[in-house]
């Protein structure tokens, strides 16, 4: 989209779905009510690690109002997982449970209460095994195996990468620091619990409505898990009541709902309780980190050796990617000429960790920023200046082969330093007050798909109706971030119409082209570019038809204010709806596709697919805090934050994302804790 004046892009405006949301009209998955619908419930393990000796469902089946009861033996005996390299999950465990909350059976009944009662009537005999509850525990007891696969006993994945001679860099440094940090795990906790409704039609076709961030991946995996042709499965993404990475995997309740729907001949809904959401988890990995970094007197980083141990929990999930992510983006923020990374993800008998907002990168960021502060102190440098000194360079390949394009981090630092009064406040605040600075970078969309393929990462179809309405079909999922609105703004901008003239259809694998999902901050860039391409193709045909009618050249036309007209001569033109009629008369149905695939930049090494992105976003943040000198309690009094997001397509939504992430970060740092008893 090349335009020098925008009428929609860059304006703060309400989201297109804001009205439905404030009116309570939005139908989340749990709000779907269907005739004859049954309610499902999962029976979950009370043991962290145990063999399943026997499951008896007789009493549950006999309970009046129960339509179907299943165990893992009613499902194809195939393990699955979101990543092709970690196929280690079962919807309903058959031989062994690996955490409290592992599902072992499921029930569909006339109502939720009956389903719950029936689930309690299922008898399960367990033989408890020794639980392994920490990284140290799992490594110290290789004789107890949580899974039979992995790079070492209880080590899901061990990776080692080296880019240059770090030892030589340390030898020539003025200061070398070694530090150890631990980042506590935490969970997404969206306000909406996961929910799914499945319907298995008399035609043998399955439909699943689900609160998922990745309808496409669920679609692919359901075919494998249920052994049903993928073409006979339809996945519809309901509006998601908050995701943050917690709804990115295929889940037991989705699979159980499908099977129960097949057996009962009824639509089946399963909505998790808040407690169950903690079991399905996939939250931030607890990570133990060791960093050794060399610095010159002027603060420049000479090299870094980074080691991370991730407490993965009971299953693989996205863990291999999470492991690489704990070592990937260090070099994208600051210039690190030589770099060595070793990471290991360890299985424990706890809910599986996965991708939470920033997927595997906030933990190393925390460690590295703390270490830089320590080094600045030792070197007598201002921590803000030291960060500025080390900025990654634009348009270069980093030591670990990641391509940085533009980088606005320097400006971000300058802005927060100035706004916060950093220079005056540092060293002068009274006891009990403090001020600190930190920086970060993150992907704008993962550069590779979860399964290797040469197809687009995002697809959009734009269809113009004779009424002037434009329908946008895209497999992306709006999880509250406003991605549907972004598609509407972009298409409206290209076609010169209003967002209200556009209807964005929710992800529906029968109808919408594939978008890989709402993760890694990818939708605005990837689906957005696909939408621009589709809309421009439509506009091209419209201009061709209108130009013929007006006896002018298509290049002379513009689309603005719901009209298509000769540039500089607004009276010579037609309404948008008329323009559609002219184009459809000439060319037939007006439906145009757009696709986006990121540049292929994966480094030619194992793990090189984790970290590349079409571009990176940057942020710098200053926080002033009050510290209670008796209790040690820390209270942030003010936060200044600057983000390099490129062009803000809707500043209101960008502010919303930034504010929300600041609060989620404060929660992680100051308030949230995971306790296992």
């Amino acid at each position: 989209m090349r335009k020098d004046r925008f009428s929609i892009v860059g304006q703060s405006r309400p989201k297109i779905d804001a009205w439905a949301k404030v009116a309570g009209e939005t139908k989340f998955a749990d709000d779907l009510l269907m005739s004859r619908m049954a309610h499902g419930k999962l029976l979950r393990s009370p043991h962290p690690h145990a063999l399943i000796k026997r499951i008896d469902t007789t009493r549950a089946r006999a309970l009046p109002g129960v339509y179907a009861v299943i165990t893992g033996r009613d499902l194809p005996r195939v393990k699955f997982g979101i990543l092709p390299v970690s196929q280690d999950e079962e919807a309903l465990c058959v031989e062994k449970v690996r955490m409290v909350g592992d599902a072992v059976a499921a029930v569909a009944a006339v109502d939720e209460e009956t389903a719950e009662r029936a689930a309690e009537l299922i008898e399960v005999e367990y033989e408890p095994l020794r639980p392994l509850m920490s990284i140290e525990d799992s490594l110290a007891h290789p004789e107890v195996r949580i899974h039979e696969y992995g790079d070492r006993p209880n080590v899901h994945k061990a990776v080692a990468l080296q880019f240059g001679d770090v030892e030589a860099a340390f030898a020539s440094s003025d200061l070398v620091r070694e530090d150890v940090f631990f980042f506590e795990g935490n969970t997404h906790l969206p306000m909406e619990q996961h929910s799914a409704v499945a319907q298995w039609g008399a035609d043998g076709k399955l439909t699943l409505w689900s609160s998922t961030q990745t309808p496409h991946y669920v679609h692919r995996l359901l075919a494998k898990i249920l052994d049903v042709p993928q073409a006979h499965i339809r996945v519809v993404a309901a509006p998601v009541g908050g995701g943050f990475g917690g709804k990115l995997d295929p889940f037991a309740h989705e699979i159980a709902a499908c099977k129960l729907a097949q057996l009962s001949g009824r639509p089946v809904k399963i909505t998790l309780t808040r407690e169950e959401v903690f079991y399905v988890h996939r939250g931030r990995h607890p990570v133990l980190m060791w960093i050794k970094t060399g610095f010159r007197k002027d603060g420049a980083i000479t090299g870094m050796h980074f080691r991370s141990w991730l407490d993965g929990g009971a299953y693989g999930s996205y863990g291999v990617a999470s492991t690489f992510y704990t070592g990937a983006l260090q070099t994208v923020t600051y210039q690190i000429p030589v770099y060595k990374f070793e990471g290991a993800r360890v299985f424990t008998n706890k809910p599986p960790c996965g991708p939470k907002r920033g997927h595997g990168t906030p933990q190393p960021r925390f460690a590295m920023e703390c270490q830089i502060d320590k080094a600045a102190e030792q070197l007598g440098l201002d921590p803000a200046d030291m960060r500025r000194r080390n900025l990654a360079e634009p348009f270069v390949k980093t030591a670990n082969h990641l391509t940085v394009t533009t980088i606005g981090l320097g400006e971000c630092i300058d802005r927060v330093v100035e706004a916060s009064g950093w220079r005056e406040k540092r060293r002068t605040l009274p006891p009990g007050k403090g001020i600190g600075i930190a920086c970060s970078s993150y992907l704008t969309g993962a550069g590779t798909a979860i399964y290797w393929n040469d197809m687009p990462h995002s697809g959009v179809v734009v269809r113009a109706d004779r009424s002037g309405l434009v329908a946008v079909l895209c497999g992306a999922t709006d999880i509250g971030q406003g991605s549907d609105s972004i598609l509407a703004y972009l298409v409206a901008e290209v076609l010169g119409i209003e967002p209200k003239d556009i209807r964005v259809h929710p992800a529906d694998t029968d109808l919408t082209p594939v978008d890989l999902g709402s993760y890694s901050s990818r939708v605005t860039l990837m689906a957005g570019n696909a939408a621009i391409q589709a809309a421009e193709r439509l506009r091209g045909k419209i201009f061709e038809a209108v130009a013929r009618k007006l006896e002018t050249a298509p290049e002379r036309l513009v689309a603005e204010d719901r009209r298509v007209f000769v540039d500089g001569d607004p009276d010579r033109g037609v309404d948008f709806a008329q323009a559609v009629v002219l184009a459809e008369s000439l060319f037939g149905v007006l439906a145009f596709p757009g696709s986006y695939a990121p540049p292929k930049r994966a480094g030619k090494y194992k793990g090189g697919g984790v970290g590349p992105s079409p571009c990176y976003s940057y942020s710098a943040c200053v926080v002033e805090v009050d510290v209670d000198r008796e209790t040690g309690e820390v209270k942030p009094s003010e936060v200044w934050i600057a983000h390099d997001v490129g062009r803000a397509l809707n500043p209101l939504l960008v502010e919303g994302q930034v504010e929300g992430s600041v609060y989620m970060g404060l929660g992680e740092v100051l308030m949230e804790e995971q306790v296992f008893r």
Partner: protein, 159 residues
């Protein structure tokens, strides 16, 4: 054992036959199809399911409908007047106070009760009133802004 209940919801009397131990949340959503009231923790922790009973915020997951007979129940579906949104709804939509929107109905109703009692609340009073309603998306800033804007507009409409 089911009980016949008569509930006054959003100004209409509704008869419903429901088990006496069902919560108000369940009856609203499952028996009356009023799904605008959201299902949260069902433990009284998150405020997602808030409705108004006689003008006061009540966690519908902890309330029994039988106790609400003869009282005025208000859900998000009752906030708009005909086609006109309540000033709080309007302000929340304009300012981006609803991201995923799941906590929004509960917050709107809690805020409505506040403004009824305190037409021009301070920022701290708004924070206090909304302390029992969790939002995971917005960081609350735009929610507080939304309540302030609505209060301002409602005051303007009164004078």
């Amino acid at each position: 054992m089911k009980t016949l209940l008569t509930l006054r919801i959003n100004g209409e009397d509704r008869d419903v036959l429901a088990a006496a131990h069902k919560t108000l949340l369940e009856v609203l959503r499952e028996d009356l199809n009023l799904t605008g009231t959201k299902h949260g923790c069902e433990l009284g922790e998150c405020g997602t399911c808030t409705v108004l009973v006689d003008g006061l915020p009540v966690l519908s997951c902890l309330a029994l409908p039988i106790e609400c007979q003869g009282r005025e129940i208000r859900t998000v579906e009752g906030m708009a007047r005909g086609g006109d949104l309540h000033p709080l709804q309007q302000a929340f939509a304009e300012l981006g106070a609803a991201q995923c929107g799941y906590c929004t109905p509960g917050i709107l109703l809690t805020a409505e009760a506040l403004l009824e009692e305190t037409p021009t609340p301070t920022r701290d009073e708004i924070k206090h009133a909304l302390a029992g309603n969790l939002c995971r998306c917005t960081g609350y800033t735009k929610i507080l802004d939304g309540v302030e804007l609505a209060a301002l507009r409602m005051k303007g409409a009164r004078t």
